[in-house]
């Protein structure tokens, strides 16, 4: 069944523990994501972003509520049906890339294709297109341990796209990349949503991505609300110079009674080692 709404969550909740020790990781979250839409889920650490993403990705069952993917409710599906659904409808991109060490670039991208009709042979043409699109043609036989972080993430994106999924779920895809490589990956995901009509749902701390996202969902204490219409307080990362929304930033420090905001842990760490240098640069 094809519909414009590709992913829907109705009153989705996930509680861990019980009684007084019960933690409401996600509490009655409802959302809808359309084809071709790029949606960010942001929020402070421990707000339930990954738990929500796992439930939307059919990796974690909910305590209550319903997830509908491409018109099919997954609530009553067994493990094998969920696995088949993931293989067909969902592409995953992870912060740690999670490439398979023994397989080269081509084999990593083709890995999920064996779950699709026609297997890896039928996916060869698409593989060539993806390698070209992701700028990996010259690296097709390289093993993951010889790739840069950016290349690894591009391979992971290729792997997520090989089965032409309806939705890509990305968990901190720029978390292990420097700002330049992070930007590259973001633009790739943005193009995928725009050109392929594939919905991209991304959990991120990276405020730079906000600019290219269609919507930003703010998750705090397990509850979600749309944040695109809210006002921003833009400041500059003293290390990389990126524009950051002070309101949502999570990498913050104080130096000589002044507040500094960073795009990533990497920039924060750099600042902490040579604060004077970056303070003067800002001034």
């Amino acid at each position: 069944m094809t519909t414009d709404i590709i992913l829907k969550a109705n009153n989705l909740s996930k509680f861990f523990g019980n009684g007084t020790s019960e933690v409401r990781a996600v509490n009655k979250v409802s959302l809808k994501i359309k084809r071709g839409e790029m949606v960010l889920i942001m929020g402070p650490s421990g707000s339930g972003k990954t738990t929500l993403l796992s439930m939307l990705g059919a990796l974690l069952s909910s305590t209550s509520g319903e997830v509908v993917i491409d018109g099919t409710s997954i609530s009553s599906m067994n493990n094998n049906e969920l696995a088949a659904l993931r293989a067909k409808k969902i592409g995953f991109v992870f912060q740690a890339f999670n490439l398979l060490e023994a397989l080269n670039v081509e084999e990593n991208i083709l890995f999920p294709a064996q779950l699709n009709v026609g297997g890896t042979n039928a996916a060869k043409k698409r593989l060539d297109e993806l390698l070209d699109r992701l700028g990996l043609t010259s690296r097709r036989y390289a093993l993951p341990n010889t790739l840069s972080g950016g290349e690894k993430q591009r391979v992971a994106i290729g792997r997520a796209l090989i089965n032409q999924p309806a939705i890509i779920l990305a968990d901190e895809p720029t978390g292990n990349l420097d700002s330049h490589k992070g930007q590259e990956v973001m633009m790739l995901l943005h193009d995928i949503a725009r050109d392929d009509g594939c919905a991209v749902l991304m959990v991120t701390h990276d405020p730079r991505v906000e600019e290219i996202a269609d919507r930003v969902l703010w998750l705090e204490d397990g509850a979600i609300h749309d944040r695109k219409t809210e006002k921003h307080s833009w400041v500059k990362d003293p290390v990389c110079g990126m524009r950051i929304d002070e309101w949502t930033a999570t990498f913050i420090t104080e130096y000589k009674n002044k507040r500094y905001v960073f795009c990533s842990q990497r920039c924060l760490d750099r600042f902490n080692t040579e604060a004077e240098k970056y303070v003067h640069k800002t001034e």
Binding site: T50, L53, S54, G57, L59, L60, N79, N80, A83, A84, L85, R86, A87, K88, I90, F92, F94, Q95, A96, N98, L100, E101, A102, L103, E107, F111, P112, Q114, L115, R159, D171, E172, G175, N176
Partner: protein, 369 residues
Amino acid sequence: MIYWSLKTLFAEPMRLFISALAVSVSFLLVIFFSAVFEGESNQMVAYLKKMDADVWVMQKGVSNMHMASSMVWDWKVDKIARIAGVKDVSAILYLNGPVKIGGKDWFSYIMGISPEHKRTGPWDIAKGKAIPEPGEAVIPEVISKLAGIQIGEEIKMIDRKLRVVGLTRGTFSMASSVVFVSHKDLGELLEGRDQFSYIMVYAKPGVSAQTLVERIKDEIDKVNALSSEDFVESDWQLGVQMGAEILIMMTTIGTLLATLIVAFTAYSLVERKKQELAVAKALGFSNGQIYIAALCQSVVITGIGLLLTLLFAYTLLPWLPAIAPQINLAVRFHQFIPIAVIALPIAVVASFIAARTVVKLDPMTVFSG
């Protein structure tokens, strides 16, 4: 998934080789014990085979040589010689017991032989003389080396001191070496100078062993006669019965060891590749598909272990007696067959442990960046 499992396995060839080698060692252990058992069993009947008699005659009620005692009056030897169809007879006095050589007791087949009885002595002389006179003994060359005893030195049979005059080949066994002494010495010791234990009967051309057996049983009182084939088989079976339990035990230990090694290897592979398997699960591979990948690895490790076993068993093991002459090894291909048969069940059973980890694997771990 199977392609991934093979590539992952072969990506670390040294680890794979060590695992397969460990499997192979446990399989080799089983083959080694089978080969020793078969070698020892062969050696147990070596004397019977080498004498090449058509019929063996012994005391009534006796049907073995190993662990047996038999006494037949010497006049019966002459009587048997006169039976129609008998070409020749030879007789030995026999005792199954320890001989003290170089301060150590060697459990032996002690053959009391005399020069007038042909074809009763050693068949391969390494040094010295073959037929001992009274006060003399001919012992296996292997014992002389192990015990440090040379020709001219003394050994002790019960309370009788004998001088070594000859060394033989093909007569050593861990359980029953063949020591030759004079009929007179053994006869005095057993108080049976006018007796023999076993009579070897050689048939005239055209006369079958079975015909002779029937004639001997008809014409001679209180004796048992067996064709050489039946007598060898009877002793062989006795050896098999005695060693079967040990062999089964060693085979079981070897099999369990191999299963444990494959299981540990498969489990550690799954444990080390947990994150990758979680990724596979997240991407849509089912528990069954991932289990088949783990099983495939177990099968490959066991298969390579099996090939190494074949290689080592039939190229290296036969050289072992050159280093350790006390070991009688009979390495035969049929010893490999039960191992080849149990190899697949071993791989399947071993992969069960890995399967447990696969089922428990939480695909959520892919998010632990």
